[in-house]
Amino acid sequence: MKISLEIPKPAVIFFLIFALLPFLFSNPYQLRIMTIVAIFSSFVYAANIIIGESRQLFLCMSALAGISAYTSAILASSYHLNPWITIPAGVLFSVAVGAMLSYVSIVRGLGEVFVAIVTLTFTLIFENVVLGLRWLTMGETGLVTPVLWWPLQEILGRRVASYYTILLFAFFVSVFYANFIRSRLGIALRAIRSDRISAEVVGIDVTRYNVIAASIGSAILAVTGSFYGYFNGMVSPGIFSPSMDIIIILMLLLGGLRTLYGPLIGATTIVLVLESTRGFGQLTLTFLGIMLVVLILTFREGISSIAEKAFARISGSEREPEA
């Protein structure tokens, strides 16, 4: 197999801009928002792989991120381990759960809607288990996470160091996604999307590829979820709640399903919208709801693909259509 790593230039530029932002906006609040944008763009890339590429409607992304965050935090604090050692354990746990959910729903032949219901139910189970195992998870109040050492924190300070680590991971994820869609796996998933039966006939193992896609997505969710927990200083059911899934899907739809830059655009836009409507309290939910309805009814392609089409029209090159 020929290995050629593609590093998309716009992604490099985008992340360079993000890397320079702390020099302009350095107060803790601004840094926090920027870090959250980076966290959510990784989440949305994961959603793009699971929901977009392999068409498995996982409504348990918050739970997959949360499982890893809780596992890592609990292991680190109860056995006094370095969190960098416990993060892989949490990730492994989440990947196992994600792969199992995917495998079981494919083998049982569940349609997308039933996958959505099963995974949503799983999210509710996760939430209730966390609330119930009070002695382990501190229930609703949340668990204070041990202190994670962020690379270069002695020089940059904890806030900036955590921002750069998380941003670097998001950059890695976006480069990964760019190569993923060109890889054997990405092409196989594309074949399955356009015609599942034909794909099976030519010998594509549908179950295997879908489970792999779900596992990769779960791994990204899990790493990001753990970072989120340590960055936040606390993991609680309020952070990894079902509404997180909705926010991720909203970002994905707004940016554009199955696009390379959609997750970055979607995450940035929605985080800024959420922050600027914070003063309206519960009405924020209403904004999110109305956005979801409008997006899904009028604009299923997303900003990114519309921009791409406009660009293609200007430059005269046509992008091949996708089913």
Binding site: I117, T121, I125, I246, F280, L292
Partner: protein, 297 residues
């Protein structure tokens, strides 16, 4: 001495069972609306719980502004029906133009968006408001067993509402047309049934059922803004176990899950109970995705 213990446990068990059935009737009432709308509208209405909240909010506001409680509650129930009808006639129109899996998926997201919209509005405008109807008597004892009067009344109202729905679907011409359309849309179109109108009617009915569920819940406990998604998930649980298209299935599943809920709550405590209910759903979907009691309408 031993015999005494046994008899106490038995009477406890019967009380728990009947409690479970009464709660189960509430669950059934909550789920039938969802099932009706999914059966004909093809839309898994994730805003269903919000219809319950809307009835509660409207009734509570009207009562506190001096209306006769009965009239206020009736107005609240009607409002939910009209709201459901309005949604069917407006935002959901474009969804029906899609086909198959796509229709269901887009419908899922649109109603989820609506649920968030309604939840945000109701909890922003009426924070701390709650709707609850007091029953003058505290407990009722029958054959030496004692029950909470509110649970009994609430169960009775649920039962009557369900019976009325069954009568409507079984005996009237319109009800039969709805059942026909539920079974086979194309076939009923050929027979001259206006499926679009039936769908609107079903939405109205679903809204009314949610409203009645609000009344039943308001009597047994209370309805407050912010709990809509929780109610929706209960309705989903019952609907999925019963078979998402079957009205009878939803009724049976509701009662069954009510009993499981009460027994598990009695034996294991509240939080594990919900986990058990959710695990049942996953098991049913994996074992028999069409639901345990699918088949009939």
């Amino acid at each position: 001495m031993n015999l005494d213990l046994a008899s106490i446990a038995l009477s406890d068990l019967i009380e728990v069972l009947i409690d479970g059935i009464l709660f189960g009737l509430q669950l059934s009432l909550l789920a039938v609306g969802l099932v009706l709308i999914f059966g004909l509208g093809g839309i898994l209405n994730l805003a269903h719980g919000e219809f319950v909240i809307v009835t509660g909010v409207i009734s509570a506001v009207l009562i506190s502004s001096g209306w006769n409680p009965a009239v206020a509650i009736l107005a609240g129930i009607l409002f939910s029906g009209i709201l459901a009808l309005a949604l069917d006639r407006s935002v959901l129109r474009p969804v029906y133009r899609l086909e198959g899996e796509m229709e269901v998926l887009v419908g899922l997201f649109v109603t989820l968006g609506l649920a968030f919209t309604l939840e945000g509005i109701t909890s922003y405008l009426f924070p701390g408001l709650y709707f609850s109807v007091r029953v003058p008597v505290e407990t009722v004892s029958i054959f030496g067993l004692s029950f909470r009067a509110s649970a009994l009344v609430s169960g009775m109202i649920s039962f009557l509402s369900l019976m009325l729905l069954l009568l409507f679907l079984g005996k009237t011409m319109t009800g039969k047309a709805i059942r026909a359309a539920l079974q086979n849309q194309t076939g009923s179109k050929v027979c001259g049934i206006d499926v679009d109108r039936m769908r609107s009617l079903v939405f109205f009915l679903g809204g009314l059922m949610a409203g009645l569920a609000a009344l039943a819940k308001g009597i047994a406990s209370s309805v407050e803004p912010g709990s809509g998604l929780e109610l929706t998930s209960y309705a989903l649980i019952v609907g999925v176990v019963g078979g998402v298209r079957s009205v009878y299935g939803a009724m049976v599943a509701g009662i069954l899950l009510g009993i499981v809920n009460a027994l598990a709550g009695y034996l294991l405590g509240t939080y594990l109970t919900l986990v058990i209910l959710l695990a049942i759903v996953v098991a049913v979907i994996l074992y028999k995705p069409s639901g345990l009691f699918a088949g009939g309408v």
